[in-house]
């Protein structure tokens, strides 16, 4: 039974992956990736990684893909087709690179001589891969990576807001000279009620007051 589920999930995962790189519309690419992620979660379940499988479906196939769908619907309109197919030699070269990579990985992993590769893994002990076991590991042995990951998320969120905010003067200044930003701008004293947050809200012109 597990063999049948493995092959169904593996074929689903590989089909989804091929769909991501073959489909032309970015929206369909995102949908193919959702299918791929759900198939991969089934493979994780077969490997007894229950918590990771649940996190994969909830976080990846749920939250991250919703982010993608939002950006695709914001950026990719049909009037401006994005990502035309490249020239034929480039495609062939990429295909050859992919084949070479598969051969290299097969040789590296399957030819490594690890004896347990030909087995179904270590004997299963109850509780392996449950949220309890993962949580215990995260809060004891892997406390430092856990905390660093939370800081990384914070930095990424702040960075994304800084990158994607609406900058007054930058959008309109494209015809003329784009305003330059230097390090000294950070040190210059600002009047109260201005600054990057006010600019992000689009309320205050730069240098207005």
């Amino acid at each position: 039974m597990s063999t049948v589920i493995f092959f169904i999930a593996a074929i689903g995962a590989i089909t989804g992956a091929i769909g991501v790189i073959v489909l032309q519309n970015p929206f369909y690419c995102v949908l193919a990736l959702v299918g791929h992620l759900i198939s991969l979660a089934a493979l994780f379940l077969l490997l007894r990684a229950e918590f990771v499988a649940a996190a994969q479906v909830v976080v990846y196939a749920g939250a991250v893909m919703v982010l993608y769908v939002f950006v695709v619907s914001y950026v990719g309109n049909d009037a401006n087709p994005v990502g035309q197919s490249p020239s034929r030699p480039a495609t062939l070269a990429a295909f050859a690179c992919g084949i070479a990579l598969v051969a290299e990985l097969f040789i590296a992993v399957l030819g490594s001589g690890l004896q347990a590769i030909d087995s179904a893994g270590a004997p299963y002990v109850a509780g392996f891969g449950t949220p309890e076991a993962i949580g215990k590991l995260l809060l004891t042995r892997f406390l430092a990576p856990f905390e660093i990951a939370s800081y990384l998320l914070l930095v990424a969120a702040v960075g994304a807001v800084t990158l994607a905010r609406r900058r007054h003067g930058l959008d309109e200044g494209i015809e003329g000279d784009p305003p330059t930003i230097s390090v000294m701008d950070l040190l210059r004293p600002r009047p109260l009620g201005t600054g990057t947050m006010a600019e992000a809200g689009g309320r205050v012109e730069v240098g207005d007051q």
Partner: protein
């Protein structure tokens, strides 16, 4: 199923993702292909975790998922910023680092 089968699937998905990064020119799809490669690595990590009967690989996979989420957030922020400035959404056109 033997662990080797999972590793083979992982290698295939990784190569498909790498080929997609090389072929596609839309930065959104390149980000999706990076996700494919990260997920292939996750599958290999969880396969090895099962092989040793040890939860460390699953914790590693969770951390990789966090890093992937960060990468997606920053990458999509960059794409939105490119769209706001009416730059072409095409990696071949993005040759200059200065805005």
């Amino acid at each position: 199923m033997n662990i080797g089968w999972y590793l083979a699937v992982s290698a295939l998905i990784f190569a498909i993702g790498a080929g997609g990064v090389l072929v596609r020119r839309n930065p959104l799809v390149i980000l999706l292909c990076l996700e494919l490669m990260l997920n292939a690595a996750n599958l290999a990590l969880i396969g090895f975790s099962r092989m040793w009967g040890n939860g460390d690989g699953q914790v590693f996979a969770l951390i990789v998922m966090v890093v992937a989420a960060c990468e997606v957030t920053v990458g999509l922020g960059l794409i939105v910023a490119m769209h706001r400035r009416r730059l072409p959404i095409d990696v071949d056109e993005m040759r200059e680092l200065q805005g």
